[in-house]
């Protein structure tokens, strides 16, 4: 912050600091504009690039002009080396990873930010000025910012790594009902640490450094246990929540350094991330508390019994049915993503389009493993986004739809969400596939969806099952339609 009282010597006007602060203002504006533009399809890409420029400016200005107690930034060669290493690794990972692995990648990068915030807190703690401690004791704003930054950053890092492992499939769910009590106890313990450290009567913060490491370890345990029991459909909510955690942790750094760019950027992400989290919870008709402490899936036994039987359909029948329809709606789910079938799916819709069939996609907000996951995948396959319709919008039109093709989706078309109050997904908005004239369900087998509950849609009289891997099924279907 510009300190005019320190400018007794008028010849020493702090040009550098002024330039830096102005750059921070510009960076903050670019972050805000970037986020704003990211929320519209046409401007989203430019918005992202704009925010990236803001970040670049802020970084350069900090390296060139930042002063702490009159000291400029040192170790510049090392800083540049670290930035180059981070850039190369980050760039390569981001470019190489498959589109289906996007959710875990976001989680991974989020964890990196959390870890950086935690490291900053750990290193700054022993350096809290002893003047400040002499004046106000340990209970001052700086110590609070450091401790909160450490706690939130560490939880975000540990949690994100677990979320990364889960989505990547090498960490399973841990569902123990008593775990939530353990978690609440650990959370209280962490807050206890903060109170304890802030009420110590010491001359220098460095006397308490060992407590910082203990607190770090406990926060790691909390982060791990916090995410361990959460599974399946709730994963996106957790990633979004951890995302906003990291934002808050970054803002703590802004508070500590009196750095407005960090403060605005961090809080902006913190609040935007929280509201996104709430939006996602709403899409599943669940409360945030329910997601965090509730144990989802497996528990709910359907009160409704399956009536009717599973009926299969042959490829040629399916091809005929589709080719002679007027309106077809495709409901994609995670099965489409794992089978990497988005391209062949688009091929099917193009061929049908040539035959005069109107093909649209019904996108459920939480289909896949992240909100908008399906949009990203289908966009990768060049499906124009005008063809992707949100479930609320397409539902009224489904009774006039000849065929709904459900590809690897389950819970998002499960009528139990409307009929069965005992079902764990009761009340969740769904794609009302059963209202269509015919339903074709492509599935690998009779396994249950991620929420592990029975789906009565599969037993419906209008439903025909097409078992097999989504990619090969679609490929065969395309060949059949072509040969008609």
């Amino acid at each position: 912050m510009l300190n005019f009282n320190g400018m007794d010597n008028m010849s020493q006007f702090p040009y550098g600091i002024s330039v830096m602060e102005i750059t921070y203002v510009v960076a903050s504006v670019l972050f805000i504009l970037g986020l704003k533009m990211l929320s519209h399809p046409l401007t989203a890409r430019r918005g992202n690039i704009l925010a990236a420029f803001g970040m670049g400016f802020a970084i350069i200005a900090t390296i060139l002009f930042h002063k702490k107690d009159g000291e400029p930034i040192g170790n510049i060669p090392w800083i540049l080396a670290a930035i180059i290493i981070g850039t190369v690794i980050g760039w390569i990972i981001a470019k190489k990873v498959k589109m289906t692995a996007m959710p875990q990648l976001v989680s991974f990068f989020n964890g990196m930010g959390g870890a950086a915030a935690a490291l900053i807190s750990m290193m700054e703690f022993p350096h809290v000025s002893s003047d400040l401690i002499a004046r106000q004791g340990m209970a001052n704003g700086q110590v609070l910012a450091i401790l909160l930054g450490l706690m939130i950053g560490t939880i975000s890092w540990a949690g994100s790594m677990i979320a990364f492992g889960k989505l990547d499939g090498w960490i399973g769910d841990l569902r123990i009902r008593s775990l939530k009590y353990v978690n609440i106890a650990i959370l209280i313990l962490l807050i206890g640490f903060i109170v304890f450290i802030m009420t110590r009567d010491v001359e220098a913060a460095s006397e308490l450094t060992h407590w910082i490491y203990i607190m770090f370890a406990v926060a790691v345990i909390y982060g791990v246990l916090f995410v361990m029991p959460i599974g399946g459909a709730d994963m996106p909510v957790v990633i979004s929540l951890l995302n906003s955690f990291t934002g808050v942790a970054a803002a703590m750094g802004g508070f500590l350094y009196n750095n407005q760019a960090m403060l605005t950027g961090g809080i902006l992400v913190g609040s935007a991330g929280s509201i996104l989290t709430v939006l996602m919870c709403k899409a599943m008709n669940r409360s945030l508390l329910n997601v965090i402490v509730g144990v989802f899936g497996g528990g709910g036994q359907s009160g409704l019994e399956a009536t009717g039987s599973i009926k299969e359909i042959t490829l040629s029948d399916a091809a005929v049915l589709l080719s002679y329809s007027k309106k077809v709606v495709i409901v994609p789910g995670y099965g489409l993503a794992v089978a990497q079938a988005q391209h062949i799916c688009h091929e099917l819709d193009k061929i049908l389009d040539e035959k005069g069939v109107e093909v649209r996609y019904a996108i459920h907000p939480v289909a896949g493993r992240m909100p908008g996951h399906m949009n990203v995948l289908l966009a990768e396959a060049d499906v124009p986004y005008e063809q992707l319709i949100e479930s609320d919008e397409i539902n009224p039109d489904l009774p006039n739809t000849d065929v709904v093709v459900v590809i690897g989706a389950n819970d998002v078309v499960n009528p139990a969400a409307e009929d069965d109050p005992s079902s764990p997904i009761y009340g969740m908005p769904i794609v009302k596939a059963r209202n269509a004239r015919n339903i074709i369900v492509m599935k690998r087998g009779m396994g249950k969806g991620y929420a592990a509950i029975e789906n009565l849609l599969f037993f419906d009289n209008k439903t025909r099952m097409l078992f097999g891997d989504a990619k090969s099924s679609l490929q065969n279907l395309v060949n059949e339609v072509k040969s008609l």
């Binding site: 970037g34 399809p41 992202n48 970040m55 980050g90 750094g253 990203v376 966009a379 124009p384 986004y385």
Partner: protein
């Protein structure tokens, strides 16, 4: 009580920014279509990489070898967050095309 009031007085600018940013964040994001949720989350993820500024400051004033190593690590991780975040978001958005 005095402590708490004093705290507010001392940090009023930061508290002001925090409160306004909270509303701004909510306002900016509340009209986003579900289609853009994933890229938006990813873009926001990149923006909180601004924590890298803190890492640079820490590294820039590190004196002992230990703090040099930790600072170096913090800058690397912060850069990963920033660069990875923006590149991944761009890759996602690259695929949103308008129908010709």
């Amino acid at each position: 009580m005095e402590n708490i009031l004093g705290f507010f007085l001392q940090h009023r600018e930061a508290i002001f920014i925090v409160i306004l940013s909270v509303f701004l964040g909510i306002e900016v994001i509340s009209h986003v279509p579900a289609i853009l949720h994933t890229p938006l989350m990813s873009g926001a993820n990149a923006i909180h990489g601004v924590v890298i500024i803190g890492a640079i400051i820490v590294m820039g004033h590190a004196e002992t070898t230990g703090s040099m190593i930790l600072g170096f690590l913090a800058v690397v991780l912060g850069t990963l967050n920033v660069v990875g975040g923006f590149v991944v978001t761009d890759r996602m958005l690259e695929m949103f095309k308008k129908k010709k």
